[in-house]
C-alpha cells in the first residue's frame, strides 16, 4: 500500500516536471501567439491618417475585435505605415491609368508580452479606392487570421 503511494507521488512529480518543461518550450509559445476573438486592439496613429481607414475597414469587414480608444485599455496594438502615390501626367497619358499606387504594412503586437503576433503588407499598383482598398485588404486578412 505504502509502495503504491510512493510510486504514485513519483509519477505525479515527473508529470509535473514534464508539463513545466513543455510550458518553457519556445516552440509552444510561438504557436500559442494568436489574436483571440473579441480582443481589444489599439490602433496607433499612422502616416497620412491610415489608422482612420483601418478603423473603418475593421468595422466594414466585421473583424471580431474591439477598437480601444487608448493603449492602456488594449490587449493588442496595431502599428503600421502607408504610402500613396497619385497617378502623374505620365502615368495617365502613357499608361492610361488614373488610379493611385498604394503600399501599406501593418503589425499587431501583444502589449503585455511585446511579441508581434500578426503582420501583413499590401501593394496595389492601381488601387481603385486608394487607401480604402489597402486598409480593407489588411482588415480582411486580419479577420481570416482570427477566424483560422
Amino acid at each position: 500500500m505504502y509502495n503504491k503511494r510512493c510510486v504514485a507521488t513519483i509519477l505525479v512529480a515527473l508529470v509535473l516536471s514534464v508539463v513545466l518543461a513543455e510550458a518553457d518550450d519556445p516552440k509552444h509559445e510561438a504557436t500559442a501567439n494568436k489574436i483571440p476573438k473579441g480582443s481589444k486592439v489599439f490602433i496607433a496613429p499612422m502616416p497620412d491618417g491610415f489608422d482612420t481607414y483601418i478603423k473603418d475597414a475593421i468595422k466594414k469587414k466585421k473583424v471580431p475585435v474591439e477598437i480601444a480608444a487608448s493603449r492602456d485599455q488594449a490587449d493588442y496594438e496595431m502599428t503600421g505605415t502607408s504610402e500613396t502615390q497619385k497617378a502623374g501626367t505620365a502615368k495617365k497619358l502613357i499608361m492610361g491609368n488614373w488610379h493611385s499606387r498604394e503600399e501599406a504594412s501593418v503589425t499587431v503586437s501583444n502589449i503585455k508580452s511585446g511579441e508581434v503576433v500578426w503582420a501583413y503588407s499590401v501593394h496595389q499598383e492601381a488601387s481603385t479606392h486608394g487607401k480604402r482598398s489597402s486598409a480593407e485588404a489588411c482588415a480582411k486578412h486580419m479577420k481570416d487570421e482570427i477566424e483560422k
Binding site: T89, A90, E103, S105, T107
Partner: protein
C-alpha cells in the same frame, strides 16, 4: 504517519532534482551542438577574408560571418527603418514563415535587425521608353547579436522593377534570413 512523511518528502525532492538536472543537461547538450559548427568553421578557416560567403543570388548579396546561425524561435527586435520598412520586413518574416519571434521591445530581444531602404518611383522616361511603371527598390539589412554585439548576417537587395514595391524587398530579406535560422 510522521515516518511516512519523512520517507516521501526526500523521495519527492530527489525526483525533482533528478528531473531538473536532466532537463538542464539536455539544454546544455543542445547549445553545445548548435555552437559546434561555428567553432569548427573558425578552426578550419585560417584566412579572415574567407568568412564572408556570398550566395548564388542574382538579386541580392548575402554574407554570413563564420557560418553563424540563429536558433529557431529566438527573440528578434526589428529596429525602425526609413519609410517604415521594418513593417514590411516583419510582414515578410511572417509570410515566409521564418521561425523567429519578433518583439517590439529591444530589451527583451536576443538579436536585432537594422537596415536602410530606398524606393524610386518610375518616372515619365521609364514609362515611355521601358513601358514599366514599377518602382526601383533598394534595401540592406544586418542582423546583430545583442549579447556579443557581433554582426551575424548581412543582406542587400536591389530590384530594378519591383512588382510589389517594398513588400518584395521585405520578403526577399526575410527569405534569406530564413537560411540562417536553424530548427
Amino acid at each position: 504517519m510522521q515516518s511516512k512523511i519523512r520517507v516521501v518528502v526526500p523521495l519527492l525532492l530527489a525526483t525533482l532534482i533528478v528531473s531538473f538536472s536532466c532537463s538542464s543537461l539536455l539544454a546544455l547538450a543542445q547549445t553545445s551542438s548548435e555552437n559546434k559548427p561555428n567553432q569548427d568553421q573558425s578552426k578550419s578557416d585560417p584566412a579572415p577574408s574567407s568568412d564572408l560567403k556570398p550566395t548564388a543570388s542574382d538579386e541580392g548579396q548575402l554574407a554570413t560571418v563564420n557560418n553563424a546561425k540563429i536558433p529557431a524561435y529566438a527573440k528578434v527586435y526589428v529596429a525602425p527603418m526609413s519609410g517604415g520598412f521594418e513593417n514590411y520586413l516583419i510582414a515578410g518574416l511572417r509570410n515566409k514563415k521564418v521561425p523567429l519571434t519578433v518583439v517590439v521591445d529591444r530589451a527583451k530581444a536576443e538579436y536585432e535587425i537594422s537596415g536602410v531602404s530606398e524606393s524610386d518611383k518610375a518616372g515619365w522616361a521609364k514609362m515611355l521608353f521601358m513601358g514599366s511603371q514599377q518602382s526601383n527598390e533598394l534595401a540592406s539589412i544586418k542582423v546583430s547579436d545583442l549579447r556579443t554585439g557581433a554582426i551575424v548576417f548581412g543582406y542587400s537587395v536591389h530590384k530594378g522593377n519591383s512588382v510589389r514595391g517594398k513588400q518584395s524587398a521585405g520578403e526577399a530579406c526575410a527569405k534569406h534570413i530564413k537560411q540562417i535560422v536553424v530548427d
